[in-house]
């Protein structure tokens, strides 16, 4: 067990290094002076001198990369060209908002997605099933930024049930539209996987045995089959967590949600490169960390995974 943990964490290091190498290459290929890129245009001469010394532009590239790593290790992601604020501070401030939105979206996607998947599996081959299949294909095909605008038009402007945008100082009604928008893609995947997994489970002998025992169909499906068909679904939900970061960039932009995504867009619009790269690097690190945690927790939760690995 300990050996497994150690192995996973050791494997994590080259991935992290690879991520920083890619962002380093991207930073180096930026138009203009990379030092100005990291320090911001209004940086004090001392900051510029310090970063220049750390980056050591006169040294060969591998040394420059080491300098970049050293800066990152101290939490230095550079400063915004425009606000001159430390990007690391901004990220720490905005990340919780993105997490809040992503969690709300995940809860919505999981509950509705599993429900839809189970229903489609039980109604397999009927018009309901075909309708839900079309709905879930649409769910993974619709651009998230357009879905957000369409929902806003319907629920905020036509029906006037929900506020169109903003965060409403934490009023939960403001999170509904963004969370539904962000969750729809994941919901559709969850429904598709739940459906196929459920169909497979329903053909197992023990389900036939439960039916033969005279249990009601609802008991068979919800008590016996569901639990076993959820394993791949839970895997999917875990691995999909990081992909909410993709949707968040677009969703937050539409709904004026003050998280990482909107921060990134502001960076893009102003060509504020340190901000863009800061979000890219931070997002990737969050993404791989979540995947690592999900992997490790499976290892603890599912004995079958452990056996497979020891083979």
């Amino acid at each position: 067990m300990l050996l497994y943990l150690l192995k996973r964490i050791l494997l994590f290091i080259p991935t992290l290094l690879g991520i920083t190498l890619i962002t380093f290459i991207l930073m180096r290929s930026l138009p203009g002076d990379p030092v100005a890129g990291m320090a911001g245009e209004r940086a004090s001469p001392e900051t510029i001198a310090r970063i220049r010394a750390e980056l050591g532009q006169d040294r060969p590239l591998p040394f420059q990369y080491l300098g970049y790593l050293k800066l990152l290790a101290t939490g230095e992601l550079g400063r915004s060209y425009y606000t001159n604020r430390k990007i690391a501070d901004d990220l720490v401030q905005k990340f919780p908002n993105t997490v809040k939105l992503a969690l709300a979206a995940m809860v919505f996607a999981s509950i509705i997605g599993i429900g839809m998947g189970v229903f489609a599996a039980v109604k397999r081959g009927t018009t309901w099933d075909r309708f839900l299949t079309l709905l879930t294909v649409s769910g993974i095909s619709v651009p998230v930024f357009w879905l957000g605008l369409a929902l806003m038009l319907l629920f905020a402007f036509y029906l006037q049930w929900l506020p169109p945008s903003g965060m409403g100082n934490g009023n939960p009604i403001y999170i509904i539209l963004p969370a539904v928008t962000l969750g729809t893609f994941s919901l559709s995947y969850i429904a598709r996987v739940t459906r196929s997994s459920m169909i497979e489970t329903l053909s197992q002998p023990y389900v036939a045995a439960a039916r033969a025992k005279g249990l009601s169909e609802a008991d068979v499906v919800l008590k016996h089959a569901l639990k076993n068909s959820l394993i791949p679904v839970v895997t999917l939900i875990g691995l999909d967590l990081g992909s909410y970061l993709n949707g968040a960039v677009l969703t937050e932009t539409i709904f004026g949600w003050d998280g990482l995504g909107r921060y990134a867009l502001e960076g893009i619009l102003k060509r504020d490169y340190p901000v863009i790269m800061g979000v890219v690097l931070f997002g990737a690190v969050v993404f791989v960390s979540i995947n690592l945690l999900v992997d490790i927790s499976y290892h603890f939760l599912d004995p079958r995974v452990r056996i497979k690995e020891s083979k």
């Binding site: 294909v137 651009p143 930024f145 038009l153 992909s243 490169y273 863009i276």
Partner: protein, 278 residues
């Protein structure tokens, strides 16, 4: 190439048939459509700003008085070109490195797999943003960004296929006869992996089109005044309440296109290997 799939399979599956027909129409529109469009997609008609759909303008006009239908037809070129070319490019790169990693194994495999994992470690849109932000925005940078985001997934998939195919007896026989690695890869492993690779590719075209739309929406794709579906939405999104058609139609165009590609991809996957997941 996709042995086992006939036209009969397609006509027996109504959604797949509709999807295939629509995609063909769309490709046709992209190729010859610009000759047929009623208006110049860039011509601003200041007397008819934000006109709702009607006789003069089939799908209305945008905030600068440009004909939305004509702009959609032009936008189809970019969406399809980027989606299909980026898929093809990332498939080629993915096949190349995936075959090498899977076939040669050992240290080559460890290093290449680690590189695949690093590219897959980025949330796709974020990496695409990072790559296209450092290049001058445009068609090439969008395509390049999407290719660089997409190739690693294919590479990992092809690696898995190569790993299992190289254990087959016909590969062993070929090796026993003294065939060189390049010949085995080219004559045995690639042809046997290709149907599944193409299915994987067809399943990704839709997501590449979405990625292009997202980059355009964020202002990192093809630049105005050239119309793209994604930028049509971002340019007009402030008018969502007063003139919703300016936003709704481009979004419908993206959605319907991607739905068709996904339905067709699902159909091919179910026919060739129901358990294939990518």
């Amino acid at each position: 190439m996709l042995n086992g799939i006939t036209l009969k399979d397609l006509t027996g599956n109504t959604p797949a048939l509709i999807a295939a027909t629509l995609i063909m129409l769309l490709v046709l529109t992209a190729v010859i459509g610009p000759r047929l469009t009623p208006q110049d997609p860039l011509a601003m008609d200041l007397d008819s700003l934000q006109q709702p759909p009607g006789k003069a303008h089939l799908l209305g006009t945008d905030s600068k008085g440009r004909d939305i239908f004509s702009r959609l037809v032009y936008g189809a070129r970019i969406s399809l070109a980027v989606g299909i070319i980026a898929s093809a490019l990332s498939l080629c790169i993915g096949i190349f490195f995936g075959l090498i990693a899977g076939y040669f194994g050992g240290r080559t495999d460890v290093i290449l797999s680690q590189i695949f994992d690093i590219f897959l470690a980025f949330p796709s849109l974020l990496l695409a943003i990072g790559i296209s932000a450092v290049m001058p925005p445009g068609l090439i940078s969008a395509m390049l960004a999407i290719t660089l985001v997409g190739w690693a997934g294919f590479a990992r998939f092809v690696r898995g296929l190569a790993l299992s195919i190289k254990e087959q007896t016909y590969v062993e026989a070929s090796r026993a006869l003294g065939a060189r690695s390049t010949r085995i890869l080219y004559k045995h492993i690639l042809p046997n992996a290709l149907p599944l690779i193409l299915v994987a590719g067809s399943l990704r075209v839709g997501s590449f089109i979405l990625l292009e739309a997202a980059l355009s929406f964020l202002g990192l794709g093809v630049q105005p005044p050239t119309p793209t579906w994604g930028s049509m939405i971002s340019l007009n999104r402030a008018y969502i309440n007063s003139a919703p058609w300016m936003v709704i139609f481009p979004g419908l165009a993206i959605s319907i296109t991607v739905i068709c590609f996904n339905i067709l991809g699902d159909f091919l996957r179910d026919k060739l290997d129901p358990r294939l997941q990518i």
